[in-house]
């Protein structure tokens, strides 16, 4: 097993909401104690519904947000505070790929200027050398040379995402977080962009965290998957194991919702109850109001993530769940 590139320990993030005139604040816990290890050269998938805190987790892994608790270690060193010089320097090594490429691009700059911008910011290359690297980057992500002088709105959604990817790769980063990189794209384009990311990962040995609510995509690209529910990881396992034999009731519901060719959605588990709302977290196991196997104990105790062979699972009654699965 390769060395960890990035480690998260006990990450917590809270947001203040609805501040009244008298300064009363209520806080919402978006991320509630996450331990995570990202190994060199792997693609770690993070899945969960909206509101599960997966994007917040991604931003903390990159150091874009300072966690309210816990720490992130990159290559063994703690993450510098945002917007300091050390932090800015570190940006060359870790990059984010956005959900909405049109919003992430400056509509008044040519795509060439934008792809080359990181080289300028970090003083990596100038003049002819920069032009050469720009051409190489564009070729690598599959953009045509004549598109260099175009503006973002003149490109298609898939091409824009290629521009964002090229910009992210400009500094040869070691670590990439892709936050729902394809969910804003047409289904027909999604596969192309996912394949591009996978090819790049294989060619360069990139380490990636791939955040998505789309399990098909995650299964397609990830080596390992962590499932999040209301700010906590409920199950984490190698991709093949997780999809073949999901254990946590929530994971099982998610996996059962993936359509299989020729089978339709037979055996799909429909979740009951309210969708997760971080502002009203249930006591005990956050999933218990929607869990078919929950009993009184589940409402009282918060399950810890525990090793079970190649996987980790946070469930108080994994055996009950497993029994029905068999």
């Amino acid at each position: 097993m390769t060395a960890p590139l990035l480690q998260a320990r006990g990450l917590v993030q809270e947001y203040a909401t609805a501040r009244s005139f008298f300064g009363k604040t209520s806080t919402v816990r978006a991320v509630d104690g996450i331990d995570l290890t990202v190994r060199q050269g792997e693609i770690l998938g993070i899945v969960g519904e909206s509101g599960s805190g997966k994007s917040t987790l991604g931003r903390m892994l990159l150091g874009l947000e300072t966690p309210a608790g816990g720490e992130v270690l990159y290559q063994g060193a703690p993450m510098p505070a945002p917007r300091t010089d050390a932090w800015r320097k570190l940006r060359a090594q870790m990059q984010l790929i956005f959900q909405d490429p049109l919003a992430a691009l400056d509509r008044r700059m040519t795509i060439a200027a934008q792809i080359a911008e990181p080289l300028e910011i970090h003083g990596i290359a100038k003049g002819a050398e920069a032009a050469e690297r720009l051409a190489a980057l564009m070729a690598r992500v599959g953009l045509r040379r004549d598109q260099a002088d175009r503006y973002p709105h003149e490109l298609s959604g898939g091409q824009r995402q290629r521009v964002v990817i090229a910009r992210a790769l400009a500094t040869n980063p070691g670590f990439l977080v892709c936050d729902e990189p394809v969910s804003a794209l047409d289904v027909s384009i999604q596969a192309q962009v996912v394949n591009l990311l996978r090819d790049l990962q294989e060619q360069e040995g990139l380490t990636m965290v791939f955040i998505s609510h789309d399990l098909k995509v995650v299964r397609n690209i990830c080596d390992r998957v962590a499932v999040m529910y209301l700010g906590r990881v409920v199950e984490e396992a190698p991709s093949d194991l997780l999809f073949a034999d999901p254990r946590h009731p929530y994971t099982r519901a998610l996996v059962s919702s993936i359509p299989k060719p020729g089978q339709g959605l037979h055996g799909r588990i429909i979740l009951q109850g309210e969708p997760p709302n971080p502002a009203a977290r249930p006591a005990g196991c956050a999933f218990h109001p929607r869990c078919a196997f929950a009993d009184r104990g589940c409402a009282a105790r918060v399950p810890e993530l525990q090793h079970d062979g190649r996987r980790q699972i946070a469930c108080l009654k994994p055996d009950a769940a497993a029994a029905t699965a068999a």
Binding site: A92, Q95, R108, I121, V164
Partner: protein, 287 residues
């Protein structure tokens, strides 16, 4: 940087340009260019010195040979005085517009960058500015300090700063929240780069439109103050001074007041029309 928008092809601009009052806009632009040329070449165009008196030709009406726009009660040539006034009024309005745009945009960006108490202070000042009639504040300042050219430009330079501050802050915050600015920050760019290379070019068109809307208001404000005798002081003269001065001779020599009035109205009208047109073209989102 703004020419990016102008060159970026957008469907329908040409057709829409043809549809809506192109003639008026062309006319307005022509008038503005003429006024700017008059202001620049005032010294060459002026037939007489503005203070040159000719007591044998006092209150000569319009159309008199040698005094196209007539003379005032000291026999000073009105055309020469008008040309000089155009220069003074335009210089004040131009300087003040730039000052207020710079000041307001800077404060707006600072508010967006630092948030917290900086933002609160900037916004409280903007509210304060918007809550008070500018004319009254200017009058108070002029009362305390007395009038001078530099003070007048600086004072007018505060006119409308809160609009730029609000626009700049709002656009910068929305850009930093999840948009292109956040993306560039995330690339490791320093704030100076984020604001000057990315946010400023993106908000420039809105700010320029705002400037074309503020400019005529500043001309009106300055000429209003000068009309009251509290703005530009003699022997220097501005369009407002001429009108205020002409008021004394309204019955005997109405031309003294008419020529500068026409210039004020046509200039503010032209810039407003051009500004409206620009706003519709460049910024369909704000109204």
């Amino acid at each position: 940087m703004t020419d990016a928008t102008l060159t970026a092809p957008r469907p329908g601009i040409i057709t829409r340009m043809r549809l809506k009052m192109p003639f008026l806009v062309v006319l307005s632009s022509g008038w503005i260019i003429a006024m700017v040329l008059v202001a620049i070449f005032a010294d060459l165009l002026r037939p007489y010195e503005i203070t040159q008196m000719n007591l044998s030709a006092r209150l000569v009406p319009m159309g008199t040979p040698g005094h196209l726009l007539g003379t005032d009660e000291l026999g000073r040539d009105m055309l020469s005085r008008l040309i000089q006034s155009i220069r003074v009024s335009l210089v004040i309005a131009f300087g003040a517009t730039i000052l207020s745009a710079l000041f307001g945009t800077t404060l707006g960006f600072l508010a967006a960058q630092f948030r917290g108490w900086v933002e609160h202070v900037v916004m409280a000042l903007a509210d304060f500015q918007a809550a008070l009639p500018f004319m009254i504040m200017s009058l108070a300042v002029l009362a305390f300090f007395g009038s001078s050219m530099v003070l007048l430009v600086c004072l007018m330079g505060f006119y409308g700063w809160e609009r730029y501050a609000r626009i700049a802050r709002g656009l910068a915050i929305s850009a930093s929240a999840q948009g292109y600015a956040a993306a560039v920050v995330q690339l490791g760019a320093k704030p100076s780069r984020v604001y000057l290379r990315h946010i400023l070019p993106n908000v420039a068109s809105t700010l320029i439109v705002s400037m074309t809307l503020t400019f005529p208001e500043i001309i009106l404000m300055e000429s209003g103050l000068s009309f009251l005798g509290l703005g530009v002081q003699p022997p220097q003269t501005s369009l407002g001074n001429l009108v205020g001065f002409g008021r004394e001779y309204l019955t005997r020599a109405p031309w003294i007041m008419l020529a500068p009035s026409v210039v004020i109205v046509l200039t503010t009208l032209s810039i407003s029309l051009l500004g409206d047109w620009l706003r519709d073209r460049l910024d369909p989102t704000i109204r």
